[in-house]
């Protein structure tokens, strides 16, 4: 096993030399985000990152007076890549969970979310564990919704997707009976053309889903700088101005 990884390392190292050598961490902050989670983070037609997370991250960087660059990363690998040092902070609508706390440090919340089911408008959906038994219910892999389904709906047929978009595609195609997801993201999709025939079902199953910025462990200074910046943009109205671009209500 050890030999194998050394061998991999040697070959990859050779590849790196060809590719121009390792990049070194510099002073500006590198922010990791997914880019497939509208309206929080998405890639527009020009290939630019947009969305609430991105706007907030830019405002925080301005408040901290540091330069920021953005790195796109698939959700599956967003924590591993942070731990590996690909970027310094994740601003990607990540919920604070105990499991994640084992791996990363979180700042204070920068917004609050709820988990809520959506399904076809004309469908009577009982969102209790018994009501969803045997139904096909989707969520994104490696999200709080995904683990919530696995934990609380053992009898449902839980399907986990690489991206939220693919879960919506399957809901629209009729492969899924319901999707559990962040209420705000579901809200955006329900308002789109594709989601016109769908609606929220039942009350939120989980409230107080705190969304925060994730950092590598062992850097309390950076956590504190981010926290101060969050408080600052809340106080000076920058936050409210960004909020209003996306939602007609306060999501903090």
């Amino acid at each position: 096993m050890h030999k194998l990884s050394t061998f991999f390392a040697a070959v990859v190292a050779a590849g790196l030399l060809v590719a121009g050598g390792p990049a070194k961490a510099a002073d500006p902050l590198r922010i990791g985000t997914e880019g497939a989670y509208p309206p929080f983070n998405l890639v527009d037609a020009n290939g630019e990152l947009q969305g609430f997370d991105v706007d907030i991250a830019k405002a925080l960087c301005a408040a901290m007076e540091v330069e920021c660059t953005f790195v796109k990363q698939d959700w599956d690998g967003i924590i591993p890549a942070l731990l590996a040092g690909k970027y310094d902070a994740i601003v990607a609508s990540m919920s604070i969970t105990e499991e994640r706390r084992q791996a990363v440090d979180f700042t204070e919340r920068y917004y609050t979310n709820k988990l809520r089911f959506i399904a076809r408008k004309d469908m009577q959906l009982d969102i209790s564990a018994a009501g969803l038994a045997g139904l096909d219910v989707g969520a994104q892999r490696a999200t709080i919704s995904g683990s919530f389904l696995e934990e609380h709906y053992p009898d449902a047929n839980v399907r986990l997707y690489d991206t939220q978009e693919n879960a919506y595609l399957d809901l629209a195609a009729g492969r899924l009976d319901a999707v559990l997801g962040d209420a705000l993201v579901n809200y955006e999709w329900l308002n789109s053309e594709a989601g016109a025939d769908f609606a929220f079902k039942g009350a939120p199953v989980f409230e107080g889903d705190l969304i925060a910025i994730a950092l590598r462990k062992g850097n309390p200074d950076l956590v504190e700088r981010f926290n101060a910046a969050i408080r600052q943009i809340r106080a000076d109205g920058t936050y409210q101005e960004i909020n209003a671009r996306y939602f007609p209500f306060d999501i903090y």
Binding site: D76, G77, G146, R159, L160, Y161, G174, R175
Partner: protein, 233 residues
Amino acid sequence: MDLRLMVDSLPQLLLGMLATLELVALSGALGVVLAVPVALARVSPRAWVRAAPLGYIFFLRGTPLLVQIFLVYYGLGQFETVRESVLWPVLREAYWCAIIAFTLNTSAYTAEILRGAIQAVPPGEVEAARALGMSHALTLRRVVLPRAVRMALPAYGNEVILMVKGSALASTITLLDLTGMARTIIAKTYKPLEIFLAAGLLYLLITLVITRLIRRAETHLSTTANPRPKGRP
């Protein structure tokens, strides 16, 4: 390196491995069933019959399996008519979409392997069978196909291994095969290296066992099909 985690994840990974084996076995069997008529059409004496499967083979061998899976899974769901057809209960399931895509894919490769083998059957044997009064169909069943299957076996063994490896793509459409299971565990543990390594070893185990089985089948077939002549020095 977290060895405990690798051991702890083993039961789940084995479950995924079972799903992988099931996918490969089912689509492999269906693929062979589909490949035989395609291969026979490819060696037909009539030009138009020969030409018919060309597009089928060209498309399936010329495009990535990932595209084929997405076409079947996400692509067909785009159409209202498909969603309202009698096929939808089948196409609705990721499992059957994977089976369909894998079956079509392997049938094209297997058909080409089989075609090569059929064409390699010495024409003298066919002529001899016909001279003995065997019909075309009987010659095919008794002489050509048994000979061709034996010759095709080594190449088909490679195809089975390629199928095992290709089946990892089932994880992209939510199936919990070995790779899908590994990715789901990583989503909870954030330890990609250990889990992927464990999954890789299991795949290696599968491919090594299949290689052995095919080799054994080859020796078995060659000894039963060519029994040593008796009573001669």
